[in-house]
């Protein structure tokens, strides 16, 4: 502790440089935590899904709908205990700058099949009875300042026109992956407005036993194999994973950028530390003359690097941990449940320690190995 004043005095030698170095470490770790959190949030979303829920989509691709008539045929298959369907709507609200997901669902079956969507019973009843009603996630309430019972108008992008809904209920998801910024409304109303096209974007199939999933999925796909719209059925987790896979390259890109940023900052920090140590060649020689051992000087330089790296880490990682919940960040709805996971904080802390070792080691070794007489000749 008695040496800490010396460490602080050295850090205060070039305050601006020290502050900028700490801020660059903080920024690097903030970016690292942010980019990694995108990846972990996507991975967590891909893990979402009830084990007894299957999702059936058009085999050609998710953007192609399926006939609504498939529902009854799927429901009749052995092992199927429940069925619901949904359709991506893609409406925008206001200037559309603040995006949120919205889709039409078969309300009663949908709420039954997704017990993770929790809302008061009276609101649930009101929604089920109101053909033009909508359910919204609690985040939308605070984000747009909407109130229960208020009319909200979305502009259709895929299905043109103004679509006005009454906010009948506000739900709170028990699983963050389900998203608390989604608007859902009645599929029946949707189907009516688009002229009874009889389409469903995807089916959600509840099965009696997890072990029957492959067999039920196969029997669904076999049923429509030779139809005009063949299906592709998988577990809900696989369905979520396809979304995550769409982000796969983005995740890789983000991880790579994150590492590149950390590496670049490492070079900056190492350079600052080296400069600082080089400037003090004479002083290090004087300290050695006084009796400071090589080991002690090595430790002092390492502690200096550590103070900078760890202060930066606390600011960067702590900042990321506090910042995103404070602004309710969810990546425009694409990253529901976005959070800086403990694993990210741990890896970030390890990166900071690595940063400390990498940036401090060279100057610390230099200080320790400095030949006194030669160094004194520079200053005398």
């Amino acid at each position: 502790m008695k040496y800490f004043r010396l460490v602080l005095a050295n850090l205060g030698r070039h305050r601006l440089r020290t502050v900028l170095t700490i801020l660059s470490v903080a920024l690097a770790l903030f970016l690292f935590a942010s980019l990694r959190s995108v990846t972990t949030t996507l991975a967590a979303t891909a893990q979402f899904g009830g084990a007894r829920r299957l999702v059936t989509t058009n085999a050609t691709g998710l953007v192609f709908p399926l006939p609504l008539a498939y529902g009854n045929r799927i429901k009749a298959l052995p092992g199927v205990t429940g069925l619901s369907w949904a359709n991506w709507f893609g409406g925008k609200y206001g200037d559309g700058k603040r995006f949120f997901a919205n889709f039409a669902v078969d309300a009663e079956s949908y709420l039954k099949i997704y017990p993770e969507i929790v809302l008061p019973a009276d609101q649930r009843d009101a929604f089920l009875k109101d053909r033009t009603g909508a359910l919204i996630g609690k985040r939308l309430l605070s984000q747009f300042g909407w109130k229960l019972g208020q009319n909200v108008t979305l502009q259709g992008t895929i299905f043109p026109g103004d679509w006005t809904f009454t906010v009948d209920g506000v739900y709170t998801p028990t699983d963050p992956a389900i998203g608390d910024d989604v608007l859902i409304f009645h599929h029946d109303y949707f189907d009516e407005r688009i002229g009874r096209a009889g389409i469903a974007g995807w089916y959600i199939v509840e099965i009696d036993d997890v072990s029957h999933a492959p067999a039920v999925a196969k029997s669904i796909d076999d049923l429509f194999r030779n139809s005009s719209s063949p299906t592709k059925t998988g577990t809900e987790r696989e369905f979520q994973a396809t979304f995550a896979t769409m982000w796969g390259n983005v995740s890789f890109l983000m991880s790579t950028i994150g590492l590149a940023v950390v590496f670049a900052i490492l070079l900056v920090t190492a350079n600052a530390m080296m400069m600082s140590a080089r400037e003090r060649t004479g002083e290090i020689a004087v300290l050695k003359t006084i009796g400071f051992s090589d080991r002690l000087l090595f430790a002092l330089v390492m502690v200096e690097a550590g103070v900078m790296a760890l202060t930066g880490a606390v600011l960067g990682l702590g900042g990321a941990k506090l910042f995103y919940p404070a602004i309710n960040f969810n990546g425009l709805g694409f990253l529901p449940g976005f959070t800086v996971a403990p694993s990210t904080l741990i890896i970030g802390a390890l990166v900071a320690i690595g940063l400390m070792l990498a940036s401090g080691l060279a100057p610390a070794l230099r200080a320790a190995r400095l030949p006194i007489v030669q160094a004194l000749r520079h200053v005398e």
Binding site: K2, Y3, R5, L6, A9, N10, G12, R13, G282, E283, V286, L287, K288, T289, I290, G291, F292, S293, D294, R295, L296, I372, V373, L376, V379, E380
Partner: protein, 233 residues
């Protein structure tokens, strides 16, 4: 027995392909409580001799003993600990740490001891008082004059009560008045506190303050140690 014993010391440096022999069998004794001035032209080996006594450098051959301990045989870590206990070194250009106050600079050698904060505080205050800078304790080196900086450096050298004080041209960067103040202080440390002092200097006036003058030329003592007028007083 002499405090500093230099026996048949050889020291050579390699500069590019050329070998420079500084000492070729130097033998010398310096007594405890003495005030010795090392004089001689540049390149005569004065500073090298000081570095050898301080354990900052090692002889190519021969032994250097201080207080009975073979400095030339010690490892780097042993030397660091030994210097902390036995050597007070003063440089020509003061070499105070600019980020520390006079007090903190003087305290540096005591950080290496087991003294408590209170004990360190007492010792630093005494050292600053001895050099007449008790009222400058909180000043940074840039706020001190050259003479005051050198007196702070002397306080740093004496604070741990070393066995021997080594000074390399301590008045080399000072004006006449400050030089006199520093030299008077050294004389006082030697006479009042019986500090053993070895000073390297080009300045004949400075050497006159010492009790003994040694003349080096090309690594050899060119005349026997000579007592000065100061020694007669």
């Amino acid at each position: 027995m002499a405090l500093v014993e230099i026996r048949d010391v050889y020291k050579s440096f390699q500069r590019d392909t050329q070998r420079i022999d500084v000492f070729t069998g130097l033998t010398l004794d310096i007594d405890a409580g003495s005030f010795t001035a090392l004089m001689g032209p540049s390149g005569s080996g004065k500073s090298t001799l000081l570095n050898l006594i301080a354990g900052l450098d090692k002889p190519t051959r021969g032994t250097v003993r201080v207080g009975g301990e073979a400095v030339s045989e010690m490892s780097a870590s042993q030397l660091a600990a030994w210097r902390a206990r036995h050597i007070g070194f003063v440089f020509q250009s003061f070499n105070l740490l600019p980020v520390l106050t006079a007090y903190q600079n003087v305290e540096l050698p005591l950080l290496l001891t087991r003294l408590s904060g209170k004990e360190r505080n007492e010792r630093v205050k005494i050292a600053l008082d001895v050099v007449g800078l008790a009222d400058r304790a909180d000043h940074y080196p840039r706020q001190l004059s050259g003479g005051q900086e050198q007196r702070t450096a002397i306080a740093r050298a004496i604070v741990a009560d070393p066995t021997v004080m080594l000074l390399d041209e301590p008045t080399g960067q000072l004006d006449a008045k400050s030089s006199q103040e520093v030299l008077a202080l050294l004389q006082r440390l030697n006479s009042e506190f019986t500090k053993t002092i070895i000073i390297v200097t080009h300045d004949a006036h400075a050497a006159e303050r010492a009790k003994m003058v040694l003349h080096l030329e090309k690594g050899d003592l060119i005349e026997k140690p000579r007592a000065t007028a100061a020694a007669m007083r």
